[in-house]
């Protein structure tokens, strides 16, 4: 007892009446208005958003709720308690370490399914909590109705609809917070998982903010971030946990983390469907719903996928890569812009030496001189014309096709369809997005590899993009050459590429350290894309391409021009000839095509096309030529896509990884080419 308390009875009475502050922890998915609610509760202003990796700070504040002092903590947004990022781990660790708290889960009513996935995990964790259905007004305006009473009854906790920005529902939340209690909702998993849980739970130490069952589920799911927590266990107990995990994992072809998430999601879906009804505005048509279900069906999804790919090929491969490129390259650039540029330079620059340096000698075709702006490797005649006349029409048509797919809601369904195949390659269905984008432009797709959760996945996607995904520019030249090949040679080409893609992906998943991630994706309804939206999306992407990829085209061309000026290209050609002629059995002219292939893979393919064009047109391709074309196409496709892509890999993944990927790809491409050459000569 303090001296002051001993001498002041009134003060002593106050101190006896004022209990210790309780702690409230706010949790929720990212961007659900959690921080706004925190501000409303504590009166302290906080920033609304955060981004994984930028800050994992926890904001603290004080509030008086129902006459009692509360310490309030705001945590980084999380989608689950088995963490996939540093932010999610921070939130999970707070719940794990703190004791005696009440948890306030904030969820977006418009996106209740995602919120309930976290709710169910809080229920499993035995955390006392209540649920705030935030943005209730926006959900109602979209025709989404949540049966709050039924939800509260199913969960066994208080559920309060709120509009945090208008402080609506705040008083009800404050009234309910002291009565926060553990949820009675329980997910029953498969017997194999339940048996594993029954074995692991008794081994875990008591105490901490989360129930042993939740921690055991995390351990079974392979959550490495819990290693510190089980480090204090006796060696025998740790071995029994690992053994239980191995045994349960062996029962499923997929990762245990994925299986647990899937079964938990099924329980969430049942709960969600029981309490949510949608008004006419948000309900899709019956046909749309059926088509949406077919598009992810293991059997019916395949013809739908084939139809989508065929339509995309016709639009991008035929209209974009042939018609639009032909028009832009010849009609616009070579017939008009190049001669106009030459004339403008000769008119504006009075010195003949400068004119010759910039646009070459008068009367000589630009492909036969080394002018800086207009020339064989001129910044304008090659760099800009490749960027604007060859690649832009193809990526623009591709962006239109991609935006249509995006706007229609088909893309996430495509990701679900290929999820199983990609899981064998250490990835998940989300990887299909950079892969599909790679068919437009590998350089840009390398940037999109950022969507993958872990470093391991990003490296595998970057490697596969650089190795086996031909960009549309190259695809167009490949298709032009492939049309001349016999069906047998074509099968060799396709088989070699697909086999390499799957084999390298599978091996990379085994060899590279780190872990893959699971894939929980909501499927928005299928809808008919609106032309205006597609135009806006396409324009935004074209602007992005011009800002980020075009400068790299110019840098690549500048390098090529410099090498040509100092005779470096001839030296490189001599160095490459033994491999190209000796190992791959290709004509010596192909050596330069391969060197240029590093700068632009489609350029190399175009060079080869020109070499064989007279025989293709005359229909006099011999068996030897069929083999040469197949070997050349396989090797070129597996080669580094272009120097811009290499720079992008370096930019995204760092010099070390960039050089390691290039160091692997170049000899590997030649090795596969040589193998196809030997096998075809034997079997074809």
């Amino acid at each position: 007892m303090t001296p002051r308390a001993a001498t002041a009875p009134a003060d002593r009475l106050d101190k006896q009446l004022v209990p210790e502050p309780r702690t409230a922890i706010l949790v929720g998915n990212p961007n659900v208005g959690k921080s706004v609610l925190f501000g409303a509760l504590t009166g302290k202003y906080v920033t609304v958003s955060n981004y994984p990796g930028t800050t994992v700070e926890v904001t603290r504040g004080h509030a008086t709720i129902e006459g009692r002092a509360w310490n309030v903590m705001d945590t980084p947004g999380t989608n689950g308690l088995t963490p996939m990022s540093e932010d999610e781990q921070a939130t999970r660790d707070i719940l794990l370490r703190e004791v005696g708290y009440a948890c306030l889960q904030v969820c977006d009513t418009k996106n209740l399914r995602r919120g309930l996935l976290l709710t169910v995990q809080l229920a499993e964790a035995g955390v006392p909590f209540l649920l705030a259905l935030n943005m209730a007004d926006e959900a109602a305006s979209r025709g989404i109705h949540v049966d709050v009473e039924a939800l509260a009854k199913s969960l066994g906790v208080d559920v309060v609809p709120t509009v945090a920005v208008e402080r609506k529902g705040l008083a009800q939340l404050q009234a309910a917070l002291p009565a926060a209690r553990p949820s009675s909702f329980a997910v029953r998993y498969d017997p194999a998982i339940e048996e594993g849980l029954a074995e692991v739970v008794p081994l875990l130490p008591p105490g901490g903010g989360l129930a042993p069952r939740a921690v055991a589920l995390m351990l079974l799911a392979g959550d490495d971030s819990l290693d510190g927590r089980i480090a204090g266990l006796p060696a025998e107990a740790r071995e029994r946990v690992a053994e239980a995990r191995r045994r349960v994992s062996a029962r499923y072809p997929e990762s245990l983390r994925f299986v647990i998430s899937k079964q938990r999601l099924a329980a969430v879906d049942r709960l969600h469907d029981a309490v949510v009804t949608r008004g006419a505005r948000s309900a899709g048509s019956d046909f749309g719903k059926r088509l949406g279900a077919w598009s992810t069906h293991p059997i019916w999804g395949v013809p739908i996928l084939a139809a989508v790919l065929l339509a995309a090929y016709e639009f991008v491969g035929v209209l974009g890569a042939r018609v639009a490129v032909d028009f832009m390259e010849y009609k616009v650039f070579y017939d008009r812009l190049v001669p106009w540029t030459q004339a403008a330079v000769r008119w504006l620059v009075p010195w003949q030496a400068a004119q010759r340096f910039l646009v070459g000698p008068a009367g000589v075709p630009f492909r036969e001189h080394d002018g800086f702006l207009v020339g064989r490797y001129g910044l304008f005649s090659m760099g800009l014309s490749y960027g604007m006349a060859i690649v832009l029409p193809i990526v623009a048509t591709f962006f239109v096709a991609f935006s249509v797919l995006e706007d229609s809601g088909y893309l996430p369904r495509l990701a679900v369809m290929v999820n199983k195949l990609f899981k064998r390659m250490g990835l998940n269905g989300k990887a299909v997005l950079p892969m599909v984008l790679g068919l437009g432009c590998d350089t840009m797709a390398t940037m999109t590899a950022r969507i993958m959760e872990t470093r391991k996945e990003r490296i595998i996607v970057t490697l596969l993009l650089a190795l086996a995904i031909p960009c549309s520019a190259q695809m167009a030249v490949i298709l032009a050459m492939a049309a001349s090949l016999s069906p047998g040679a074509l099968a060799w080409f396709g088989g070699a590429l697909l086999g390499t893609l799957v084999l390298v992906g599978w091996l990379a998943a085994k060899v590279l350290p780190g872990r893959g991630s699971d894939f929980v994706l909501e499927l928005p309804p299928l809808r008919i894309p609106q032309a205006g939206n597609v135009a806006v999306k396409t324009l935004a992407r074209i602007e992005w391409y011009l800002r980020e990829a075009l400068p790299l085209f110019l840098v690549g061309t500048l390098l090529l021009w410099g090498l040509d000026r100092v005779g470096g290209l001839v030296v490189l050609q001599r160095v490459a000839a033994p491999v190209v002629v000796g190992v791959l059995h290709l004509p010596k002219e192909a050596a330069l095509a391969f060197i240029l292939g590093f700068l632009r893979r489609d350029y190399a393919a175009a060079g080869l096309f020109l070499h064989y064009e007279p025989f293709i047109r005359a229909g006099t391709l011999t068996r030897e030529m069929q083999i040469q074309i197949t070997v050349a196409l396989v090797t070129l496709t597996l080669f580094i896509p272009c120097i811009a892509n290499f720079f992008m890999i370096v930019k995204e993944r760092g010099w070390k990884t960039g050089l390691a990927i290039a160091g692997f790809i170049v000899p590997f491409a030649v090795g596969v080419g040589a193998t196809v050459n030997v096998l075809m000569r034997w079997l074809y």
Binding site: N31, V48, Y51, T54, K110, A535
Partner: protein, 68 residues
């Protein structure tokens, strides 16, 4: 800092609506300054924000739709 406009965006992949503020590129990226790529907090899908010419077209289309 990324050149993002703070406004509500809808993820084209999973349909989540979110505030674009703070959802830009990682600052470690050398091109993050001036980058318009926004990243969905729910599924991490990234897409360029419709500003600039695309933003003007979007504004025009929205005004036209509102006028009907």
């Amino acid at each position: 800092m990324p050149a993002l406009v703070a406004r509500m965006e809808r993820c084209p992949l999973c349909g989540t609506e979110f505030d674009a503020a703070g959802q830009g590129c990682r600052p470690s990226c050398p091109l993050a300054q001036g980058c318009k790529v926004v990243c969905c907090p729910s599924c991490s899908y990234s897409f360029p924000q419709e500003t600039g010419l695309a933003g003007r077209l979007k504004g025009f289309l929205e005004r036209r739709r509102a006028g009907r």
